[in-house]
């Protein structure tokens, strides 16, 4: 599909249309002109009107208009226009998939669920106004929990933008245990940021007291980090010569923001990326394949509607892979609890059923389909992805 071709075709259509429009106006002008001429003639008559003279002018006008035939001309123009205007849509249909709703399945697709998903998406993006507007217009029940979670998060983020770590500190303190369970160093990072700000703008005394109060608790677990930070006190006022200048970099604020978002979402059971945007991204990647499939199955609408599994794979980008899927290279079956993937001594992996088949369910050895190594079923061990 060449966009240049489309643009050229469109320009041609518009040019012709402009011409056509101009000619329509010319026809209207012509009619007006004829009437004006007749009008002038009538006004120019001097004698107390002999009806015959007046009548002849009028008849002449009527005849003239009949001859010109403006209605026919206009009709002709419109027919030409229709032909002109029909070319571009045909080109569009050729260059694009003319009907992507062919890939839509006519199944129970509850729009209430979709509304709620979209509203939650807006809340996750911090667009509270928009989310509320949607809930209102759609008449959906309010998503109180999710909204308040994200509202809290955005309040923390807003404060961070002006380097106010207060709300963040509150939240981190409240959720300290869970954060530690996740192995997050968020609290240390927060104090580090605050400390760096003091080192940049405050006195040595301030920095020292802050280090004593807030950084010391982390000393035992993160001695390296702690040492680096404390050393910076010496360079308060002369930060250009500080050997740990990278600690002063403003990028740490951005990193911290991203980390706090991640942890926040994780703790309230949400994903970092808006799930709606992930699903749509998958849809955009997958729709071309599904359309091809729908076209191929056009005659088998019933089968299309009721299929339990897609007959063709849909390739998705690696950031859209959330689960390990093992496909046995021999049977093309997917690994499952009943049919787990097994590692053979030659380091190749087959599904259990394939191994059973190859060994004919005995303890006899069989040859790996990939390399000439022989193995027995007992030598294979189950893998857990």
């Amino acid at each position: 599909m060449e966009l240049d071709t489309l643009k050229d075709a469109f320009d041609r259509v518009v040019k012709r249309q402009k011409l056509s429009s101009f000619r329509s106006q010319e026809i209207v002008d012509q009619v007006g002109h004829e009437i004006e001429q007749a009008l002038a003639k009538i006004k120019a008559i001097n004698d107390p009107l002999s009806p015959v003279h007046l009548k002849s002018i009028l008849s002449e006008l009527k005849l003239k208009l009949n001859t010109v035939g403006p209605l026919n001309l206009l009709e002709g123009l419109q027919k030409e226009r229709n032909i002109n205007l029909s070319k571009y849509p045909k080109l569009l249909e050729k260059s694009f998939s003319p009907d992507i709703s062919k890939a839509y399945r006519d199944v129970d697709f509850d729009f209430h669920l979709v509304n709620q998903i979209v509203a939650n998406h807006f809340y996750q993006q911090g667009l509270f106004d928009l989310g509320d507007c949607l809930i209102d217009e759609a008449g959906e029940p309010e998503a109180i929990a999710i909204r308040s979670h994200f509202l809290e998060m955005y309040q923390v983020l807003e404060a961070l933008k002006v380097k106010n770590l207060g709300p963040a500190l509150n939240w981190i303190t409240l959720n300290r245990e869970k954060l530690n369970q996740n192995g997050s160093m968020l609290e240390l990072k927060l104090h580090r940021l605050q400390f760096v700000e003091i080192v940049k703008k405050g006195t040595k005394a301030d920095a020292l007291s802050y280090a004593r109060t807030h950084l010391a608790p982390f000393a035992s677990l993160h001695m390296n980090e702690f040492q680096k930070l404390v050393v910076c006190i010496i360079w308060v006022g002369k930060l250009d010569s500080c050997p740990h200048a990278e600690l002063m970099a403003p990028t740490h604020w951005e990193e911290f923001t991203q980390e706090i978002i991640k942890q926040f979402c994780s703790l309230v059971g949400q994903s970092y990326w808006s799930p709606l945007s992930v699903a749509i991204a998958a849809g955009i990647e997958g729709l071309p394949t599904l359309l091809k499939l729908a076209n191929v199955m056009a005659a088998k609408r019933q089968e299309w509607q009721e299929m339990k599994q897609l007959p063709v794979p849909v390739e998705l980008g690696k950031e859209l892979q959330f689960h390990s899927i093992f496909v046995c290279p021999v049977s093309r079956d997917q690994g499952s609890e009943e049919n787990p993937p097994m590692l053979m001594p030659c380091q190749h992996v087959l599904c259990n059923q394939s191994i059973m088949k190859l060994s004919k369910n005995t303890s006899r050895t069989f040859k790996c389909p990939y390399c000439p190594t022989e193995a027995s079923a007992a030598q294979c061990r189950q893998l857990h992805f």
Partner: protein, 422 residues
């Protein structure tokens, strides 16, 4: 996993509203990708999905052209027959003739002004068409993430317009500055008819049918008939039997030739009362019929304007859910990053088919990254598998020791065995 840390769009999505609850920091919306070349080829494929995007403004342009033509035709026709009248009248004075002709001239001048106005409207629509073509052309490797973001918003606005959530649609379009790329104006035409139908009035919908008479006829639409039937039923409901019969004679009879069965069914309601228990006719009196008319109107409207019959959001969502759907998504420990870990998404995905894989795709439990030939899977003595990257990192931090995060088993990095999976 590559994270796109930029706020979406121009950061103006939330900044423009005045309440204190909106905040300028935003989470990433669209997932960005790391391999430019495969992305671009995928992009070309995905551009082909944008038929509606270009078709709608063009159909709108055609409509304006047709309307301008009809205006010209009507007025010129009227002027010409007035001239004929004046010319044919027997007793007309000079003054009267002058008066008539002068008024005709001014009518034509009025027409000219209208046509010029119409021309200006046509130009605006041409600009809109061109703007959209330019928008499709504008996407490249650098602005891909941004462009995808805009596409996502277009899809959302389309959904809201179709569901009649006009305020939300407009707010989103305005705050993202994508008014040119969405069809707010076109849907304003639908709004009148939809609102009226929701109020149980057929007026605007009938007007719309009249406006688009020839195209509806071409597609053999029976929508006007359905509107008329509903009006008839309302007359029967109000027990205005005489009026109902007159109405039927005038408006329903012409459709008898092609839709006799339906006509008969509805006419029979004359014999019943609106609170009849007879199921066949009871259903015709239910208020649900009005909802059905709203849906019908929308379908006809979409067809005429070059839009898909289903909201874009639903189409993409179904495709995405199916592509993502695996049996693992429904397990309790499904990662939160998978949309199908959420109840709403699971419910929507229920009737949709599972995805299929032809090749193994393995995700490291620790890093969530793909385990492929560059980052091969390694097997612990207990059969648990993790990526080489994760295990190397762990070993470096722990004197060459590996601890399985799921079972707690400790072993050496040297005890690991590489697995070869195609």
């Amino acid at each position: 996993m590559e994270i796109d840390p930029l706020p979406n769009g121009t950061g103006s999505t939330a900044a423009t509203t005045t309440t204190e609850t909106t905040v300028t920091a935003t989470l990433p919306t669209a997932v960005s990708n790391t391999t430019p070349s495969s992305k671009l080829s995928q992009l070309t494929e995905s551009l082909k999905l944008e038929h509606q995007f270009l078709r709608v403004p063009f159909e709108h342009y055609k409509k304006t052209i047709r309307a301008n033509h009809r205006t010209a035709e009507k007025e010129v026709s009227s002027v010409i027959s007035s001239v004929a009248d004046v010319a044919d009248s027997n007793e007309i004075s000079k003054d009267d003739a002058v008066l008539s002709l002068t008024s005709l001239v001014s009518r034509l001048q009025g027409l000219k002004r209208k046509l010029e106005e119409g021309s200006r409207t046509e130009n605006l629509q041409v600009q809109n068409c061109r703007a959209r073509l330019d928008h499709l052309e504008s996407v490249d490797a650098e602005n891909l993430s941004e462009w995808n973001n805009v596409r996502f918003k277009r899809i959302l606005v389309d959904y809201m317009l179709r569901m009649s959530y006009y305020d939300t649609a407009r707010k989103l379009a305005e705050s993202s500055k994508i008014e040119e790329l969405v069809d707010l104006e076109v849907f304003q035409e639908a709004k009148k008819a939809v609102d009226a139908l929701k109020n149980q009035e057929v007026g605007p919908a009938l007007a719309w049918c009249a406006e688009n008479k020839s195209r509806l006829k071409k597609s053999k639409s029976k929508f006007e008939f359905q509107l008329r039937l509903q009006e008839f039923i309302e007359l029967v409901r109000a027990e205005n039997y005489m009026r109902a019969i007159l109405y039927a004679r005038r408006y329903l009879a012409p459709w008898g030739a092609t839709h006799l069965k339906e006509l008969q069914l509805v006419m029979t309601t004359l014999a019943f009362r609106s609170n009849t228990e007879c199921t066949k006719y009871k259903v015709l009196f239910e208020p649900k019929q009005w909802d059905f008319l709203v849906d019908q109107f929308k379908q006809e409207f979409y067809k005429l304007h070059g839009m898909t019959l289903e909201p874009l959001l639903n189409i993409y969502l179904q495709a995405g859910l199916s592509a993502l759907k695996t049996p693992y998504c429904f397990e309790d420990d499904c990662t939160k990053e998978d949309p199908l870990s959420q109840e709403n998404f699971r419910k929507l995905a229920m009737p949709l088919p599972y995805s299929k894989q032809h090749h193994s795709k393995l995700v490291c439990y620790i890093t969530k990254e793909l385990m492929d030939t560059e980052n091969p899977p390694q097997v612990l003595p207990n059969g648990y598998v993790y990526s080489t990257k994760a295990l190397k990192e762990m070993a470096e931090k722990n004197n060459g020791k590996i601890t399985c995060p799921r079972t707690g088993l400790v072993c050496n990095y040297s005890d690991l065995v590489k697995a070869y999976i195609s």
